[in-house]
């Protein structure tokens, strides 16, 4: 055995010893018009999608990179103070949390929700509330923060078939990207007067 082989650490062995250092979880809650919880789904997020990393690479290297916007158009995105901005005000759907009826499994190259629900009080529309947040906090060996958004069904009818969720963010004004997309394990329905609340928790753990 030579010196080199003696000093090689086998990553396949050590991989099993460690939990992921960065995580993203989601919580979906559906309530009726009285606030009673009808459905709750909590799980690790299926995925950040590539745009998140394209923008991260741009910031880390301080250069422009191509980032696909939510319309599927490649944008030359220089690092920008608006990068990843997601704290949308009420009624804004260009960024912030979105829900939709798409059922296609997540792929790394997804650039939008498959069938996002639009803003409004019409048929199959939701009134998007403002994005709220909890500041980064340390608990044990984890630092986490969350972003949350509630969407109200004022359409007059139950909205069925909600199956996908995600986060849209700014790339740089005026461009927008999808940074996260998840397909729920089961369909969600929102009764008239009810709401769906989506919480994403970003965490790093040592």
């Amino acid at each position: 055995m030579n010196q080199e082989s003696e000093n090689i650490i086998d990553e396949e062995i050590v991989e099993k010893e460690l939990e992921p250092t960065m995580g993203l979880d989601y919580l979906v809650e559906v309530t009726d018009k009285d606030g009673k919880v009808l459905q709750r789904i909590s799980a690790p997020s299926r995925s950040f999608v590539r745009q998140w990393y394209d923008l991260m690479s741009a910031h880390c290297d301080n250069v422009a990179r191509i980032v696909k916007d939510t319309g599927g158009i490649n944008r030359s995105a220089a690092p920008h103070e608006n990068g990843w901005y997601a704290r949308a005000a009420a009624g804004i759907t260009g960024y912030g949390h979105r829900v939709g009826k798409g059922t296609t499994a997540v792929t790394i190259s997804d650039y939008a929700l498959e069938s996002p629900i639009e803003e409004g009080a019409g048929l199959d529309q939701l009134e998007h509330g403002a994005v709220s947040y909890a500041k980064p906090a340390v608990a044990g060996s984890t630092c986490s923060f969350w972003l949350r958004r509630s969407m109200l069904n004022s359409s007059g009818s139950t909205i069925t078939g909600i199956k996908e969720i995600g986060i849209y963010t700014r790339i740089a004004a005026p461009y927008l990207m999808c940074g996260v997309r998840d397909v729920l394990p089961s369909e969600v329905y929102i009764p008239n007067g009810g709401a769906i609340t989506v919480t994403y928790t970003f965490k790093v753990t040592v």
């Binding site: 080199e4 990553e11 960065m22 690479s57 290297d61 704290r87 970003f202």
Partner: protein
């Protein structure tokens, strides 16, 4: 989803021969990483009791900024660095325990530049690599026990520096005089 950070270190002697290497999953992004991402995503300045700690231990209220997360460029402040500390990583570490400084004196590395690659896609993977190859021109062997990444962060228009990642190596790496150590961090997500 697997959202991961890997590091590899490769030590070469003065002839360029690989004498040692280690690759494993990074122990961690640190608290500062999430604090800066929170600032970018919300445009919220963290209040006094929650401020971000820079590499000198100064508490700062970071802003969203176009040059947040810079890892390229500056020899002494940003990018990948090596150190001799071996205290286990904690979530609130704010610097390498004993950073090896830039130079050619005893116990110093010539750091050269950090580079950042573009994202590559393979099947369900997206990843990019941050890399640096410090050279040991000190005249004596230097033992590396920790590695990490420093990045820029901003308070209005003023640039500060924070430690985003720190790892203690499984095996201390002896970098011989005239040799070099290449440290690669791979940020990866698997959908």
């Amino acid at each position: 989803m697997k959202h991961e950070l890997w590091y590899s270190v490769v030590v070469r002697d003065r002839q360029g021969k690989v004498v040692s290497r280690e690759r494993r999953r990074s122990r961690s992004f640190l608290k500062q990483w999430n604090q800066l991402m929170f600032a970018q995503m919300t445009d919220i300045r963290l209040p006094t009791d929650d401020k971000l700690k820079d590499i000198d231990g100064v508490l700062i209220s970071v802003y969203p900024h176009e040059k947040n997360f810079r890892m390229e460029s500056h020899t002494s402040y940003s990018g990948i660095f090596c150190g001799t500390g071996d205290t286990a990583v904690a979530i609130d570490d704010y610097k390498l325990e004993a950073k090896i400084e830039n130079g050619t004196g005893p116990g110093q590395f010539s750091y050269l530049m950090s580079t950042v690659g573009a994202v590559s896609i393979s099947d369900s993977h997206a990843q990019f690599v941050v890399s640096r190859s410090p050279v040991n021109n000190s005249g004596d062997t230097i033992t590396v026990r920790e590695v990490g990444i420093y990045t820029s962060c901003y308070v209005t228009t003023a640039q500060w520096w924070m430690c985003a990642v720190r790892d203690v190596l499984e095996t201390p790496q002896d970098v011989p005089a005239g040799g070099a150590i290449t440290v690669d961090y791979t940020l990866e997500v698997v959908a």
